[in-house]
């Protein structure tokens, strides 16, 4: 039975990988359409119906553009930089529970590649490695603007990682586990024991801190100082061209997708939906609807990311650092104390 288990996991990993790439591709299209909608424009509409093939055209353009590797750059690190960014972005999807369990024949197949008992920490570890792609790329370009952009981007990511981790600690104090699938399972349904079961309703402030830090981690507006073109030409990827630039941009969209999935499963119940026990459907149908609901939640978050991008202007760098260290971190620490006090109060 060992090989069947491995086969299941391989298929799930492959599907998760393809879906991640597909959604990241179409996020670029969605971003342009949403930007157009918010600014009362039409947006891309030439390639295919409603411009549906625009991402394919973009990818083709990226491949056929001339590729320039600066003569003074460190060639090996210059080439490996985008690869590291892409790899670390794709590695996180391993622990995300995409759905409940399917019954195939007499076997139960869980729609999660690997249920690590330290799932939440694993995501953190991989996210903290994401800095390397940016720093190596920026340094290897041998360009002062790239180096400054890389240092900006990575110090921003390190600063906001702290707030993010601390806001998660108060969540983990409630869940009592680090396993992603157990955390999602605890939010079963929508209403339990006279209160909402989703952790968003138990930890709204923690979620607020988390989502602000997630924006900063993904280098999205209002925190996209890494590519602040008014000051830095183009940020850490100034010297990059062709598909290498495409990889960096693509990694950003994958990060956005993964952090949306992360928020949806930690705070918004993952694949759980209201009245899931009252429908009277079989296990498999509940699981399939759950997967669809999970993806709808993810799309809602991706839309929110894009909505913010076209609504709020960019912060200044000192404002960004002040927000990170003097607002987010103390707020997250206070939140931990408050959560601890409430847990103690409830026990007695």
């Amino acid at each position: 039975m060992e090989w069947i288990f491995l086969l299941d996991k391989t298929i799930i990993a492959f599907i998760a990988f393809s879906i991640t790439l597909l959604i990241a591709t179409y996020s670029t299209y969605a971003e342009r359409k949403i930007a157009a909608f918010l600014q009362d424009r039409v947006g891309p509409d030439r390639a295919g119906p409603f411009g549906m093939f625009q991402p394919l055209a973009d990818a083709g353009k990226f491949f056929f553009k001339e590729e320039i590797i600066p003569a003074t750059s460190n060639k090996f690190l210059f080439i490996i930089g985008p690869g590291i960014a892409m790899t670390t972005a794709l590695m996180t999807s391993v622990v995300i529970p995409w759905g409940g369990t399917l019954e195939i024949g007499d076997r139960l197949v869980s729609l999660q590649v690997s249920d690590l008992n330290i799932g939440v920490l694993y995501v953190f570890g991989v996210v903290s490695l994401g800095v390397y792609g940016i720093m190596i790329g920026g340094w290897a370009s041998n360009n002062k603007f790239s180096l400054l952009g890389a240092i900006r981007a990575s110090s921003q990511m390190i600063s906001y990682e702290l707030g993010m981790g601390l806001s998660l600690i108060s969540l983990i104090m409630l869940t009592g586990t680090l396993s992603m699938s157990e955390i999602v399972e605890q939010q079963h349904g929508f209403w339990a024991d006279g209160y909402f079961s989703w952790y968003f309703f138990k930890q709204p402030i923690g979620f607020l801190i988390f989502i602000v830090c997630a924006f900063a981690e993904c280098n999205r507006t209002p925190f996209d100082l890494a590519e602040c073109e008014a000051e830095l030409v183009g940020g850490y990827h100034t010297e990059y061209s062709s598909m290498k630039l495409g990889f960096y941009m693509f990694a950003e969209y994958i990060n956005m997708f993964i952090s949306s999935a992360f928020m949806a499963s930690l705070y918004f119940g993952g694949y759980n939906f209201p009245f899931m026990d009252d429908l009277g459907l079989s296990q498999n149908w509940i699981t399939i609807i759950g997967v669809i609901v999970f993806f709808l939640k993810i799309f809602a978050f991706i839309f929110f990311f894009m909505w913010i991008r076209w609504t709020i202007p960019r912060f200044r760098y000192d404002q960004l650092m002040r927000l990170g260290w003097q607002v987010m971190m103390p707020a997250a620490l206070l939140h931990i104390f408050a959560t601890g006090a409430v847990i103690l109060f409830n026990q007695h």
């Binding site: 460190n74 690190l77 690590l116 008992n117 330290i118 920490l121 694993y122 953190f124 570890g125 903290s128 490695l129 800095v131 390397y132 720093m135 190596i136 340094w139 180096l147 890389a150 240092i151 990575s154 110090s155 390190i158 680090l178």
Partner: protein, 165 residues
């Protein structure tokens, strides 16, 4: 299977550790050190110490090495500007290294006579490590955290030129 994984990881660990020493460029040294930490994380996973593995990854590979990389990138160290160390210093470091190896070898000599450690059910998980840290080893744990705070305060004071401002 596990034995093969162990040998591959050990080869990776030792060769990357040697590459840290032999690389001419400091940037490459740091990057090899990151790979070395990665393979040590792999060893922890083989030992079923999952929590320790991921903490090793977050703290060493994810935080400390990034700061190393920062400093080296900003200092713009190149092969040409690397200072040549005097010969006596090289001899002294070789002798010290050998002495350390003798001490370690002596300490590990009787390892086969040690009884196998009792492995509980939650060994290596966050729960197990937390319980041990906050009951059996509470005192050393707290003292270590005070040590860290002292180091951090000291670094801030050194970095600030005018403390009284």
């Amino acid at each position: 299977m596990l034995t093969i994984a162990f040998y591959i990881l050990s080869a990776l660990t030792i060769s990357s550790a040697l590459m840290v020493l032999f690389s001419k460029s400091p940037i490459y040294s740091v990057l090899w050190l990151v790979i070395c930490f990665f393979s040590i994380t792999g060893h922890y996973i083989l030992l079923d110490a999952h929590f320790l593995a991921i903490v090793n990854l977050i703290v060493y590979a994810g935080a400390i090495m990034v700061l190393f990389l920062y400093v080296i990138m900003l200092m713009n160290l190149n092969k040409e500007s690397e200072p040549q160390k005097p010969v006596w210093l090289k001899f002294a470091s070789v002798i010290t290294g050998c002495l350390l190896m003798i001490v370690l070898a002596g300490a590990l000599k009787g390892y086969s006579e040690l009884p196998p450690a009792a492995i509980t059910e939650d060994f290596g998980t966050a729960k197990g490590v937390g319980k041990v840290l906050f009951t059996e080893f509470l005192m050393p744990f707290e003292v270590a955290s005070i040590l860290f705070i002292t180091a951090m305060v000291g670094a801030v004071i050194l970095a600030k030129k005018h403390v009284n401002d």
